[in-house]
């Protein structure tokens, strides 16, 4: 695995966007994307947890391989993600109560965000080294923010338009995601 880190970043951000191409982290994508500002804050929090997770998953993996117990990886990742989310929550609460209030319930919910678990699993199965892991985490986070911002921008406009009542809510959100996903397929030619 000698893919340059920049390529990994672009790949995770655009070509294999976590939300629109790999269907990871759809719950916050559909749930938090009604207002642009909340969407951006959510994206930042997720990116930060992704970075933490990526570093800890890398270290856990070294440890587990050293003691010859790779089958424990999934359980360890989950525990580490849960505790790092808890840690982030405590730090934000202590140093910036305003941001803490703005993020609200979404912060603890990051624990069950599949994008984060998938990040740990992917970087292990692809055998990334430390720098590549960081690039991967940053790229995925940037991709997540991008998808969330695009979606929330569209949904803010959508509130003003006249949608057929049976299409309102999740149905129209899914249709829009489909169109966005098709647009992102245009990036597929950039890889390899």
């Amino acid at each position: 695995m000698n893919t340059p880190s920049l390529m990994i970043f672009i790949d995770a951000c655009l070509i294999n966007n976590f939300v629109l191409a790999l269907f990871l982290g759809l719950c916050p994508f559909l749930g938090v994307s009604t207002r642009t500002e909340t969407a951006f804050n959510m994206g930042l929090a997720v990116t930060f947890v992704m970075l933490l997770t990526s570093v800890s998953a890398y270290l856990i993996n070294l440890l587990l391989n050293a003691i010859g117990a790779p089958y424990l990886s999934l359980i360890c990742y989950i525990v580490v993600i849960a505790s790092s989310v808890q840690f982030v929550e405590m730090v934000i609460k202590k140093y910036s109560p305003a941001l803490f209030r703005a993020l609200g319930i979404y912060l603890p919910l990051i624990t069950t965000n599949c994008a984060i678990t998938a990040l740990a699993l992917f970087q292990t199965s692809r055998g990334y080294d430390f720098i590549q892991c960081l690039a991967f985490a940053l790229g995925s986070g940037a991709g997540f923010i991008l998808a969330l911002m695009l979606m929330s921008g569209i949904r803010e406009r959508l509130e003003l338009s006249d949608v057929n009542p049976i299409l309102q809510g999740t149905a129209i959100a899914l249709m829009i995601s489909g169109v966005l996903s098709m647009a992102f397929m245009g990036f597929a030619g950039m890889g390899r």
Binding site: I78, A82, L121, F122, T170, L174, M185
Partner: protein, 221 residues
């Protein structure tokens, strides 16, 4: 979900017949009326990601059902011993254990399907349906009732995956579970197999159900 946990009365107080009714109710509720995917919109990620063929959808549904039933059974068994503060962490550990078992089992049974599903087997661990049922139902109800409830929701999830998988494979590849349906001249709509198609198909199913519900409301009885 708050409603059904609130109405669940202690087992002792219920007469034998109504207990059976309640068990049946626990089983059937998840299949259609509170279908996790179409009605409650939980666990969307695997429903969209792996349903590009019928076989994959079925495998994903069955794997999730197994994890759901086993985890809810264990959670219901240990519900009296787990301190309230650390319950979520305990549930996650139980779920992660069964997901690891399923991961290795599937690898042994069919390596091809395992490769097609990829990371999504491991990702069952963060499927909100499982943690949701463990927290909302299994942590407050008897082992039998929790297992039935889990089985119902598992079947509901499998059905939803099949709904998606059948539409996407028949339109996208012109085949059903690998068997060609329309002869060699059929040009599949490849968009249905690609990520965009998944969003469209789920959106269309929701559209159909909304339409049916709206029609039923307009014409009562």
């Amino acid at each position: 979900m708050a409603n059904d946990t609130a109405t669940a009365t202690p087992d002792i107080a219920i007469a034998a017949t109504s207990a059976r009714d309640e068990n049946l109710e626990a089983l059937t509720r998840g299949i259609w009326r509170e279908n996790p995917v179409f009605v409650m919109l939980l666990g969307n990620c695997p429903t969209l990601a792996v349903t590009n063929s019928v076989i994959n959808s079925l495998a994903m549904g069955l794997a999730t059902t197994f994890v759901l039933v086993m985890s809810c059974m264990i959670v219901a068994m240990i519900r009296d011993f787990v301190p309230k503060e650390v319950r979520i962490a305990c549930y996650i550990l139980v779920i992660a254990t069964f997901v690891t078992i399923v991961d290795y089992l599937l690898q042994a049974i069919s390596f091809d399907v395992h490769r097609a599903l990829g990371a999504f087997i491991s990702l069952i661990v963060v499927n909100c349906i499982i943690l949701g049922r463990a927290e909302a139902f299994a942590s407050k109800n008897s082992v039998l009732k929790s297992s039935l409830d889990a089985l119902g929701f598992g079947i509901g999830f499998t059905l939803a995956c099949l709904f998606m998988g059948v539409v996407r494979e028949v339109i996208g590849a012109g085949s059903f579970a690998g068997i060609p349906l329309f002869g060699p001249d059929f040009a599949g709509w490849s968009i249905m197999i690609l990520p965009g198609g998944a969003f469209f198909v789920l959106g269309s199913w929701l559209l159909l159900f909304n339409w049916l519900a709206a029609r039923r409301k307009r014409r009562p009885a």
